[in-house]
């Protein structure tokens, strides 16, 4: 129950955030849904594993969905990926690190620094993995498309 409520809040938060960073109008709703999905996956995986692996799974799911939906909506992938990934970006960890450094509690500072770096790395690796697979699939498609344009242009001349 509380997961559902939190996901609704994730939807609303990212909807509002998409307005601030001027996401295209047709993406607003989709961004919110993607963010809610990402947060639901994160919360669902978290009890069975660590923060880092939950972040990785969530980022992976969101990245795959953004790539597919970006093709369907004909928008650049980042118009979906940036807002949708924001829920799991370790913003809290970054400032907890600095806070603990300033408070000279070195143990807690190191702990939050490494969990922040781990979460950031997990997001990076998930996005990279999906990007690389999509690039490999696209390379074939692009060459076919280019060939088609060339044929059309020849006909026009």
């Amino acid at each position: 129950m509380s997961i559902l409520i939190q996901c609704i809040f994730a939807f609303l938060a990212i909807l509002a955030f998409s307005i601030i960073i001027e996401a295209p109008r047709k993406c607003l709703f989709v961004n919110g849904v993607l963010a809610a999905l990402g947060w639901a996956v994160y919360l669902a995986v978290l009890p069975y594993s660590s923060v880092v692996s939950a972040t990785f799974v969530s980022a992976f799911v969101v990245a795959v969905c953004s790539h597919i939906l970006a093709r369907l909506l004909k928008v650049p992938v980042i118009a979906l990926l940036i807002p949708a990934i924001l829920t799991i970006v370790p913003g809290a960890g970054m400032y907890q690190t600095v806070y603990n450094i300033m408070n000279s509690s070195v143990d807690t500072a190191l702990y939050s620094l490494f969990s922040t770096l781990g979460a950031a790395g997990a997001i990076a690796f998930a996005i990279f993995l999906v990007d690389a697979v999509v690039a490999a699939i696209r390379r074939g498609g692009r060459q076919k498309r280019l060939l088609r344009y060339e044929l059309q242009n020849r006909k026009r001349k």
């Binding site: 001027e22 947060w39 980042i78 940036i82 913003g91 809290a92 690190t97 806070y99 300033m102 344009y149």
Partner: protein, 256 residues
């Protein structure tokens, strides 16, 4: 194509690239867009070299004198619709749906703002309230976070006209966040989770877009741009954290 058209083509590519770079597109996307636009000329050499702070374009052929332009990019923000619009125009131009003049006029007069600025300020209130709820805050936390978000929106509105350094703006903004959050909790009879409120409210300023872009640039092999963006994100995050710390220190509060 004649000589003047080559000039206009390079100009078009430079404008498109500059708009994309200013609004937070990835480096490889900017380079791809420029190369696509230049490839319409059918000339031999089409080069685009893009950094996070500027871009260089060269179009050349044995038959003509090479045309080279450099554009410096000073302001960088996140504006997804501008990227999307330029992407659309350049794709239409490449596929022959738009002529050179049409594409030039469309890019030059690009109006990408879809939402009025007051709506963005109001959205800030909701972002901080709902993020607090998302991280597990209760109704009281969310109301307080909404109040903090309102102050942040007022601060953004006040500094919109002034040319203030972005880092200083974030520092004072996060200082306001922690001071007001701790202040609201001082009101007798109000109890809430200070850390959830602060984390929710600073999500508006946290460089999430910069981090995502930095990762994609780095892993695409644009190390100079990726490194610069990672540094930018870290400095920004440190500024925000410093602001929060100073505010809490002043209010004598403790992060629980």
């Amino acid at each position: 194509m004649v000589d003047t058209e080559y000039k206009q083509l390079v100009d078009l590519a430079a404008m498109a690239g500059k708009i994309m770079l200013e609004n937070g597109a990835e480096i490889y996307r900017v380079e791809d867009t420029i190369r696509y636009i230049l490839s319409v000329s059918g000339l031999e050499t089409k080069q685009a070299f893009v950094l996070s702070t500027g871009l260089m374009i060269s179009l050349g052929d044995p038959a003509i004198d090479a045309i080279t332009v450099i554009r410096r990019v000073e302001n960088r923000g996140t504006h997804l619709n501008a990227i999307s619009k330029v992407n659309e125009i350049s794709r239409d131009f490449y596929m022959g749906k738009l002529s050179l003049d049409e594409a030039y006029v469309q890019i030059k007069g690009l109006q990408a703002n879809q939402y009025p600025s007051w709506l963005k300020d109001i959205a800030m209130i909701f972002v901080s309230a709902f993020f607090t709820g998302m991280f597990g805050g209760n109704a009281v936390d969310m109301v307080i976070a909404g109040g903090v978000g309102f102050l942040l929106a007022v601060w953004t509105w006040l500094t919109r006209g002034i040319r203030m350094h972005g880092m200083i703006r974030d520092f004072i903004g996060s200082f306001l966040v922690s001071v007001s959050a701790a202040g609201f909790l001082r009101i007798p009879g109000v109890a809430g989770h200070l850390n959830l409120i602060i984390i929710g409210a600073i999500m508006v300023m946290v460089p999430g877009a910069a981090i995502t872009n930095a990762i994609r640039d780095t892993l695409h092999g644009d190390y100079s741009a990726g490194g610069a963006k990672i540094l930018e994100a870290f400095v920004k995050a440190a500024m925000i954290a410093l602001g929060v710390y100073c505010g809490l220190f002043m209010m004598g509060g403790r992060l629980v």
